[in-house]
């Protein structure tokens, strides 16, 4: 049946031996999740086939088996403008969305406006085709919607701009926590050297280490939030942060000694400075 809706990848799909059983299970799941809707197999299979076509970089078998079937069905029905589906969407997905967004802004007017905008974008389209058609079924519909909402809200609040890297040398401009005159001198003397060494050291980190450091220091994620995001134990993320920090300090030290030729007698003091201002240094690095 599904094959009838496919123009491509037909061989791949027909090779799935238990395709029938998988689709039956998905049908049952949809029926249980959306009891108020009148189901159309045709609608589901059309959209499923579309996702298989769309997600060409994944094995068809994986696309089908991991499909969030009920979410896809609801999205498909909404995209078709089915009033019952839209009602379900508005009743079950929108209120939690608003609650979730309170983390981003305290002003309820902003939130209301943001949610309204998201709903219009997703269901109506506002000139463009409604975005709901773009839901791939990879993640949950809740996450997908939340992603759009968070991004929309952030754009609305203009959070990006404020994060733009300033031209000020933050390390130099900092009302230094360190009042040791000797360090003060080092700080001025090696400002550019340290910045270059730090940038080089940071660049030498693994991608994930760089991301984690930035998320921890700049984005202010907690260890628990990092753990949830990366789906690992909090001890693991804690270790990541510490390890990445250690690595960057060590690499900076190496850079200072080997490339910049900072005397051994001074390098420890400079490193002390780097360590105490690591947060600022990470922030200082524009992507």
């Amino acid at each position: 049946m599904l094959l009838a809706h496919l123009d491509v990848r037909r061989d791949e799909v027909s090779a799935i031996s238990d395709l029938r059983a998988v689709l039956d299970a998905q049908h049952t799941a949809i029926a249980e999740a959306l009891p108020t809707l009148e189901l159309s197999d045709e609608l589901y299979l059309t959209h499923l086939a579309h996702r298989v076509t769309q997600r060409a970089d994944e094995p068809a078998d994986r696309v089908i088996r991991t499909m969030h079937a009920a979410d896809l069905y609801l999205a498909a029905a909404c995209a078709e403008g089915e009033p019952a589906a839209i009602a379900v969407f508005e009743a079950t997905l929108v209120p939690p969305l608003r609650r979730a967004l309170t983390k981003l802004s305290a002003a309820s007017s902003t939130l209301d406006e943001s949610v309204q905008r998201v709903v219009i974008m997703v269901l109506v389209g506002d000139g463009k085709p409604p975005q709901i058609a773009g839901y791939s079924g990879r993640g949950t519909l809740t996450s997908w919607l939340r992603t759009i909402a968070v991004r929309t809200t952030r754009r609305m609040l203009g959070t990006e701009q404020s994060q733009a890297t300033t031209d000020d040398d933050e390390i130099a401009a900092l009302p230094s926590a360190v009042r040791d005159p000797e360090l003060e001198l080092l700080r001025v003397r090696y400002r550019d050297t340290v910045r270059a060494a730090f940038a080089a050291a940071f660049a030498s980190l693994e991608t994930r280490e760089r991301n984690v450091l930035r998320q921890y220091h700049i984005d202010g994620l907690t260890i628990d939030q990092l753990a949830a995001l990366y789906r690992v134990n909090r001890a693991t993320t804690a270790r990541w942060v510490a390890g990445a920090r250690l690595a960057v300090v060590k690499a900076t030290r190496d850079q200072l000694v080997t490339a910049a030729g900072v005397p051994a007698g001074e390098v420890d003091s400079v490193i002390r400075l780097v360590r105490s201002q690591l947060e600022l240094s990470v922030r200082d690095l524009a992507v």
């Binding site: 994944e58 609650r99 996450s143 990006e160 991301n211 998320q215 260890i223 628990d224 250690l246 992507v287």
Partner: protein, 984 residues
């Protein structure tokens, strides 16, 4: 670069992507701030609903900042707080940081902690700072590397004496806080920190204050809580005192005074009160009524301290003697700075595996460890050499002139000589390492000539007098020989040969006639000479070297020789007076070459030791502290610390001295390994300190280890061995094996006498005291008379030593009932004691007391009374009015007054009785007081006093009988008994 699709971001956050897709997303995130922030925002939103208990969420990660502090490691996570170690970048020190649970009331807590921050006391963990982090209060505290009392008690069995010593210190800390109005609220073994060394500190003042326990409804730890707190009253200094006494009780007896299965039962037990509490101190401290407890922690501390004050005996401090020996081995230092030059240039000078192999073949037990340390040290020297070499060429390039180039050439030649030194040492270590070489190798590897000898100012001599190229090969040959000779001394059997060789090289150098090389040879000869046995020859060689360096315009060399000379005089020759006089000239020479740190610290160190030897403590502290501040080498710093610790010991700062010395010894062990004789030397000072503190087992342990290390490392002919014998004899004579003590001391006296060492006095003094204790009057007299003669004849006569000898001779005579001899000696000692210490000093009190007692024995009470009164007044000044020492003097005063018919005697005796009533006291002392009271009451109060007199006498007899080992007291008990029989 286009941002990630919403759908991809959602799937990423949901964890629904394949590994390849995840990598692609994360690579994008690393380059795109916007998307990364989107993801972060999603992570925040997503976890918001699933938020766990925020109280547990605080994660302290190394590198995090709390206030201005940078965390390095979490140490402990308790119910109330998390403790971590952090660095304070501003002050460059490590601290402990305690982050408290949010429910601890921030406002009140901070007010209290701020007061704490103003309290600085050696027995209180210092609070540096208080602040807030992530909504929690944190307290930044001094980082203490000790263990809490509970652990301290658990790791090894502790003597009652040690426990009380710790608790006295803790009590002082609590008392100091009480003085500032701070109540601890949670005193318990966990909050008393012991160590490092003997330092004791109380921590966590007021931190428990506001954490009300749900189970008990009160704050603090139930087992230690005073009864009034259970009744809901606020915490006070008196309730702290209760908690302190519960802790003390538990420490002494091994179990808490109140135990129960439930909180309710515990409360009931505490409110019932403790039974069978041992000793008056605890009985009072654990009184149910706060008003019945000690008036303050000060009083409690004093009582506790008095409970273990030893009977006054004169301890002869062997450490006084030892500094010289420790410092004798003072090392040389070198500065640093890096760059680039082929490492092979210096690395080729030595071969690590050859040294390792030679050591391994030797079968010496410490060989493997020694080889490793030697390798490390040579490697470090090589690195510094390379640095100096690079710096030298950089300087020349910057300078660019011909003169600059001449300096560069001279420095390079100088560095070549240092390379020769390294090579010669390495060759010796890898080809012929006999036992003495292996044992001294580490030290030698640390003592390679300082590279500061090749600083621009240091090589002036050669710049001024460029060498004729034709002579270059001959000079180079001599320089190589000099290096080989310097290394040679390492071999014990070759020490004399090395001096001979150096002497020959001086002659060779003179034959060439090039003054810089003559100066170098003469300098080495003098240096080697100062460490040899012929001290007169050393003085001569030093003079010659000064002339040679002056002739060569070698200012640096002159300064080196001057420094060697002061070190020699102060630490080897034992001539502190001359050292101090000549130090001015040495100082001038060192200043002239710009006060290089390596010379300056050696010189200050030597001056400090000289000042110490001359009993000039103030200058000793000044010089040693200055040396310490400039010293960069950990080994030398440790040697200075041992000297400083000895000064502190003499000034009575025993815990500080102990901490300093133990830390220094640990540093030495780290540098030299545990088997090195230098550690043996340092242990002599520590042992003396332990014995001063009354820890004889610890002292004995230190001395035994010390003599073993010294015998192995330096041999029995060395002066240090004689001093070690003296110390071991001293400690053995105190409760150890008397026969052994005599043997050790006698041998020490012979050896020290042969060396004309001034500490022959100490050994004689200890022998004299031993013989006196054993009742051998003649032997005691002989030893002390010889000591007296030494003290009087000494080049730098010491009033204190003469006075002590006179006092001891007086005491011996008085023991033997030779009262006139005794009186003459004491009368001669008294003005000396007063001149030395003033009247209000325990030494003076001893003499005054003794004069009074001799008059008493001679039945000249009218003469005795003025001395007794002086003794009482001085004791009050020294110990305070309410002190058992005062009571002891009052007892004898009372006896004298009674015997001269003065009924005011009873008032004085009752004063003594009142002191003894509130203090722990030796039964024999108390017996004596009661005995005198009995006689006085009988005499002055007539018939109505008879009953009371008999009561006193009965008590006196029982007290005298208390110690079956005290023969004198048992004899007194019989006297009292006889008196009682007569009166009934």
């Amino acid at each position: 670069m286009a941002c990630l699709d919403d759908d991809v971001v959602a799937a990423y956050v949901d964890g629904a992507l394949t590994v390849g897709q995840v990598t692609a997303v994360e690579t994008h995130l690393a380059m795109c701030d916007t998307c990364r922030k989107d993801v972060s925002a999603l992570a925040v939103v997503q976890t918001m609903s699933a938020q766990a208990d925020p109280a547990d969420a605080l994660e302290l990660i190394p590198g995090d900042r709390i206030g201005r502090y940078v965390l390095s490691a979490e140490r402990a996570r308790g119910a109330m707080s998390i403790v971590a170690v952090a660095a304070d970048p501003e002050l460059g020190r490590d601290i402990a940081i305690k982050v408290l649970r949010p429910e601890l009331s921030a406002h009140l807590l901070r007010a209290e902690a701020r007061v704490m921050a103003k309290l600085s006391h050696p027995n209180v963990v210092a609070v540096h700072d208080v602040g807030e982090h992530a909504g929690r209060v944190y307290v930044a505290m001094e980082l203490v590397d000790g263990v809490d009392l509970r652990r301290w008690l658990a790791v090894e069995p502790r003597s009652r004496r040690d426990i009380i010593a710790v608790m006295v210190e803790a009590a002082k800390g609590v008392a100091a806080a009480h003085d500032k109005g701070i109540v601890h609220r949670d005193i318990k073994p966990e909050n008393v920190l012991c160590g490092p060394g003997d330092r004791v500190r109380v921590t966590d003042f007021g931190l428990a204050s506001y954490a009300v326990d749900a189970a008990t409804g009160v704050t603090g730890t139930p087992r230690y809580l005073a009864p009034e707190l259970w009744a809901g009253q606020p915490a006070t200094a008196k309730s702290d005192q209760w908690s302190f006494c519960v802790t003390l009780y538990e420490a002494l007896t091994g179990k808490p005074p109140f135990e129960a299965d439930s909180v309710a039962a515990l409360r009931a037990a505490i409110e019932r009160g403790a039974t069978n509490v041992p000793g008056q101190i605890l009985q009072r401290g654990l009184a149910k009524d706060p008003a019945q407890r000690w008036a303050s922690m000060h009083e409690l501390a004093a009582a506790l301290s008095a409970s273990q004050r030893p009977r006054k005996t004169w301890l002869v401090g062997g450490a006084l003697a030892l500094l010289g020996v420790v410092a004798f081995f003072a090392m040389k230092r070198r500065p640093e700075n890096p760059c680039e030059v082929p490492a092979s240039l210096i690395d080729n000078a030595w071969n690590r595996s050859a040294i390792d192999a030679a050591f391994a073949a030797s079968n010496r037990p410490s060989a493997a460890d020694g080889a490793r340390r030697v390798d490390e040290n040579l490697d470090a020297y090589g690195k510094k050499w390379r640095t100096a070499r690079i710096e030298s060429c950089r300087d020349a390039r910057v300078d660019g002139t011909a003169a600059g180039h001449a300096v560069y050439e001279a420095r390079t030649r100088c560095l070549d000589r240092r390379r020769n030194d390294l090579e010669a040492l390495a060759r010796l270590l890898s080809t012929a390492p006999d036992a003495s070489v292996i044992d001294h190798a580490v030290e030698a590897s640390l003592a390679l000539p300082s590279l500061a000898t090749c600083d621009p100012t240091a090589v002036q001599a050669e710049v001024i007098q460029p060498l004729d190229a034709a002579l270059q090969p001959r000079v180079d040959a001599i320089d190589r020989e000099l290096a080989a000779t310097r290394a040679m001394v390492l071999k014990e059997s070759a020490a004399d040969e090395a001096i001979k060789k150096a002497r020959a090289l001086v002659a060779d150098a003179r034959a060439i006639g090039y003054s810089p090389v003559i100066a170098r040879a003469a300098k080495l000869l003098a240096h080697l000479s100062t460490e040899a046995t012929d001290q007169d020859a050393a003085e001569h060689d030093l003079d010659e070297a000064l002339v040679a360096t002056a002739a060569a315009h070698d200012d640096r060399g002159t300064a080196e020789v001057w420094t060697d000379r002061i070190v020699f005089l102060a630490m080897t020759r034992g001539a502190p007076q001359r050292a101090m006089e000549l130090a001015v000239a040495a100082d001038a020479a060192v200043v002239r070459v710009g006060s290089p740190a390596d010379l300056l610290t050696r010189l200050q160190h030597a001056r400090g030791v000289a000042a110490f030897e001359r009993d000039d403590n103030a200058h000793a502290v000044t010089y040693l502290t200055s040396a310490r501040d400039h010293e960069t080498d950990p080994l030398d710093r440790a040697a200075i610390d041992i000297a400083l610790g000895s000064v502190e010991m003499r000034l009575g700062h025993l815990p500080e001295a102990h901490e300093r010395m133990t830390t220094a010894i640990a540093a030495m062990e780290k540098q030299l390994g545990p088997q090195h004789h230098q550690i043996g030397l340092a242990l002599m000072s520590l042992g003396s300190l332990e014995s001063d503190m009354g820890n004889y087992p610890a002292a004995r342990k230190a001395f035994v280890r010390s003599i073993d290390l010294i015998r192995k490392g330096l041999g029995e002919q060395h002066v240090a061995y004689a001093l070690a014998l003296s110390n071991l004899g001293m400690v053995e004579s105190r409760g150890g094996d008397a026969a052994k003590a005599r043997e050790y001391l006698t041998e020490a006296i012979t050896r020290l006498g042969a060396l004309h060492h001034r500490d022959e006095y100490m050994a004689l003094a200890n022998l004299g005291n031993l013989e006196r204790r054993l009742g051998n009057t003649d032997a005691a007299n002989a030893a002390w008379n010889r000591a007296l003669k030494l003290a009087r004849d000494a080049h730098d006569a010491s009033t204190e030593r003469v006075e002590r000898a006179l006092y001891s001779l007086g005491a011996i005579a008085s023991d033997a009932d030779q009262l006139d001899t005794a009186m003459a000696a004491f009368q001669e000692a008294l003005p000396l004691a007063i001149a030395e210490h003033g009247e209000n000093h325990l030494r003076s009190i001893e003499v005054i007391d003794s004069i009074g007692l001799v008059y008493l024995q001679k039945d000249q009470c009218a003469r005795a009374v003025p001395f007794m009164n002086r003794a009482v007044a001085a004791s009050v000044a020294v110990y305070g009015a309410d002190d058992p020492n005062v009571a002891r003097s009052l007892s004898t005063l009372g006896e004298c007054m009674m015997k001269s018919g003065d009924r005011a005697a009873i008032a004085q005796l009752e004063r003594a009785l009142a002191i003894y009533d509130t203090h722990p006291v030796l039964p024999a002392d108390n017996g004596y007081l009661h005995w005198v009271l009995a006689q006085a009451t009988w005499k002055f109060d007539g018939a109505k006093g008879h009953a009371r007199a008999i009561e006193y006498a009965t008590k006196a007899r029982d007290l005298y009988n208390a110690d079956p080992n005290d023969a004198y007291a048992l004899g007194m008990a019989r006297d009292v008994d006889r008196w009682l029989v007569g009166k009934r």
